[in-house]
């Protein structure tokens, strides 16, 4: 530990964050959402879309929401129907979608006694997920552990087949992790599109088939080159838990998963997305999928020097939300970024201080370190240097998930060649600096140590305020990223509901049980 920050102070911060998260959790426990209900159905094996491309999960939930009372939860209706019709959840959904069946009749009935009927279905899905988990663990165990950060690049062509070309090129060049960025609008859709897609803007649709296609291509590479390539997609949004479930089934390795991002940058309703996030994180924890949080984004709207502490504070809070979802630290890809204006004197020192601090405060977390984006310009040569300095900090402070900066960040979504240059940049720095951190100690009272302490102090102050006012008020005041959000506004609010006393979610319970037993 190079900074030797006061561990007692860190503990105080964590305690503030814990209270903050627990407050929200009590709200979460009382509510469910259309997305959560659809996710339960997917975990029961529901798949496919209607003639009008409506996913059966949506068709069923919409029917219950419109014609019955969703507050009792889909499980209530499906289990009664299964008992009565002796059909599978899939058959029931299809019957409902084609208006051959209505579940209205079950609305008035007492708490369903037939939940046990779901066990085989839940079990099938769990087996798939456990198999994927095991496969990942074994493959990773077979290959040598990297000592420098894992190289993470994005593909964003809009066309899954083109994405695959790009991903293979990146893997060929040495990327360890590949993320498929979503098309710009998707996170606001209240359903998950279906099938392979070739049309997207600034990204590609997140669909289960697209997940499968990319997974298959990357596994192909692994067979050939004996290097496992991790696959990433984005859960945050209106379909957070559904996408988390799809990712668990198709063996994604990481998921961008942060309701604060959705609230602040996508104007998604606060309650909606916190409830969704909880279920999605439990699923990811069960599937041993690393989550990535989005604190880095704050610095794209707020100044990175002045608001550095908001990033740290948010990481503390995200850590607690993850713990409440039974996630071990090893799955917490907390986000931060290298976004200080290069025109600021000593910028490198401040970036180093910030990165060391995150590393030291969250020693076990696979930190996600984002490259310069906001201050990237059309000057691709200067951009190359900005990325090199970022890479130096990433290697020197032992960041884990190393998102590579693109020299064309200010211009277009990455071209194949941009990505290759980014990987070569990072590889050169990793080779030259791999042992640099062992070579020096920071001077007491120097700019770096002082800066780290200041940021920690400010984060503590902010956490204290948030604990006092509550996280919702904090969001209303726009303390993160300078963007104000109200719990009574935002997209997806109408999809939130208070759980009826008879509400049941056996899928969640089963996962929690296994997680608590630690299996």
């Amino acid at each position: 530990m190079k900074l030797n920050v006061d561990q007692a102070q860190v503990r105080r911060c964590k305690n503030h964050a814990k209270t903050i998260a627990q407050d929200v959790q009590s709200m979460i426990d009382e509510h469910s959402t259309v997305a959560v209900e659809r996710t339960i159905l997917r975990m029961l094996g529901l798949d496919g879309v209607t003639a009008l491309d409506v996913p059966y999960a949506n068709a069923l939930v919409d029917h219950i929401k419109e014609d019955c009372d969703l507050s009792k939860g889909v499980v209530h209706y499906v289990t009664y129907a299964m008992h009565e019709t002796q059909q599978t959840p899939q058959q029931i959904a299809e019957a409902v979608a084609s208006k051959k069946l209505s579940l209205k009749a079950y609305q008035a009935l007492p708490k369903s006694p037939y939940v046990a009927l779901l066990e085989p279905y839940i079990d099938t899905t769990f087996q798939i997920i456990l198999k994927q988990r095991a496969y990942r663990a074994e493959t990773l165990a077979k290959q040598p552990q990297k000592t420098t950060p894992e190289l993470y690049v994005i593909v964003a062509t809009g066309n899954i087949y083109e994405d695959i070309e790009q991903a293979l090129s990146a893997a060929h060049k040495g990327a360890d992790i590949i993320a498929v960025i979503r098309t710009t609008g998707q996170s606001l859709l209240d359903y998950v599109p279906y099938g392979a897609t070739t049309e997207g803007f600034g990204g590609t649709m997140a669909t289960q088939e697209n997940f499968r296609l990319m997974r298959e291509a990357l596994d192909g590479f692994t067979q050939k080159h004996h290097r496992y390539i991790k696959l990433v997609n984005y859960a945050s949004g209106l379909c957070m838990p559904e996408i988390a479930a799809m990712g668990a089934i198709e063996r994604l390795d990481m998921m961008l998963n942060d309701s604060l991002y959705g609230i602040i940058f996508r104007d998604i309703n606060i309650k909606r997305t916190f409830v969704d996030q909880y279920f999605s994180r439990v699923i990811s924890a069960f599937a041993q999928i690393i989550i990535n949080t989005g604190e880095d984004n704050y610095l794209t709207t707020s100044d990175a020097f002045e608001h550095a502490h908001t990033v740290l504070a948010s990481q503390f809070i995200n850590e607690q939300f993850a713990l409440l979802a039974c996630m071990p630290p090893e799955l917490m890809g907390l986000g931060h970024a290298f976004e200080i204006d290069p025109n600021m004197p000593h910028s490198f020192l401040y970036e180093l201080a910030q990165a060391e601090l995150s590393r030291e405060v969250f020693p076990k977390a696979p930190l996600k370190y984002m490259p310069p984006t906001k201050h990237m310009t059309g000057d691709i040569f200067k951009g190359t240097i900005q990325n090199a300095l970022f890479n130096i900090v990433a290697v020197t402070t032992h960041q884990s998930i190393h998102l590579l900066g693109m020299l064309t960040e200010a211009i277009h979504t990455p071209w194949m060649s941009d990505r290759a240059l980014a990987i070569e940049n990072a590889q050169y720095i990793a080779k030259a600096f791999q042992a640099f951190s062992e070579e020096f100690t920071y001077v007491e009272g120097g700019r770096i140590k002082k800066r780290a302490q200041d940021v920690l102090n400010n984060a503590q102050g902010l956490l204290k305020t948030i604990q006092e006012e509550g996280l919702f008020a904090t969001l209303e005041h726009g303390r993160f990223a300078g963007i104000k959000r109200r719990p009574t506004q935002g997209k997806g609010l109408d999809g939130v509901f208070k759980k009826h006393p008879d509400y049941q979610n056996p899928v969640l319970e089963a996962m929690l049980k296994r997680l608590q037993e630690g299996s």
Partner: protein, 247 residues
């Protein structure tokens, strides 16, 4: 008098270029890269770097000499041709000649979630030392934020009796912005209200030329600030005799 690019001697025509090809990295790939350079009118072409991107793709960096010439005199620049006034001058002008307030309604539209650009123009704080429209005396600035669809934008513009509509578009991949911007003008025309508003678009990849082409009154790109757009809007309102004080 025509000119050529400059390396280290007047009109030596030196240029650098780089691109990828869907070919394996090989001497054949390098020669194909050269062939492209030749088609672009370069001679003495050197492939100084070639590297594989995968088994099927390769990347090349080239240097060469262009024989093309351009006469700078003949080059037209398409830019908002009203000179930009200072915040103070704009406020004074409104005070003197217009019936305040002049109302600007703005948003980052379609699926675009980028607000920093529109905020830079509209919010108090502004950007790079230029205050935003909210701070201007005599201007009413309403910022609807991001991901605003065209219908809601028009609705709001009508509700607030907007004089000027400001649209920000940042994501341009696969020309998503063109589709969205065109759709808005079509909407205005369908509703027969195109002439009721001054409609301005901006964004990192937006040029005045493009904006005019799409039927907007003006387009503003990087390094443009609130006073630039306000100046333009006022000049246009002055021309069109909008909200002018009757003396």
């Amino acid at each position: 008098m025509t000119i050529r690019p400059y390396g280290d001697t007047m009109n030596d025509g030196k240029v650098q270029l780089s691109f990828s090809l869907p070919l394996p990295c090989s001497l054949h790939g390098e020669e194909t890269a050269k062939a492209f350079a030749l088609k672009m009118g370069l001679h003495d072409v050197q492939v100084v770097h070639a590297s594989p991107l995968s088994e099927q793709f390769s990347y090349y960096i080239l240097y060469g000499t262009t024989h093309h010439q351009v006469d700078p005199e003949t080059v037209q620049i398409s830019d908002v041709n009203t000179d930009s006034l200072s915040k103070e001058a704009i406020e004074a002008w409104i005070e003197r000649d217009f019936e305040a307030p002049i109302t600007f309604v703005g948003a980052s539209t379609g699926t675009d979630a980028h607000t920093v650009g529109i905020d830079a123009i509209m919010n108090m704080k502004g950007y790079a030392g230029h205050y935003g429209l909210e701070r201007y005396k005599g201007i009413e600035a309403i910022n609807l934020g991001s991901q605003v669809d065209n219908d809601s934008l028009l609705e709001e513009a009508r509700k607030h009796r907007a004089d000027v509509i400001l649209i920000s578009q940042t994501v341009t991949q696969k020309d998503v912005h063109i589709q969205n911007l065109t759709a808005f003008i079509e909407l205005l025309e369908a509703e027969n209200v195109r002439d009721e508003f001054i409609v301005i678009v901006g964004g990192a990849r937006i040029s005045h030329a493009l904006a005019k082409e799409l039927g907007y009154d003006a387009g503003f790109g990087q390094k443009k600030y609130a006073n630039d757009v306000a100046s333009f809007a006022l000049h246009l309102m002055d021309q069109k005799q909008r909200k002018k004080k009757k003396l």
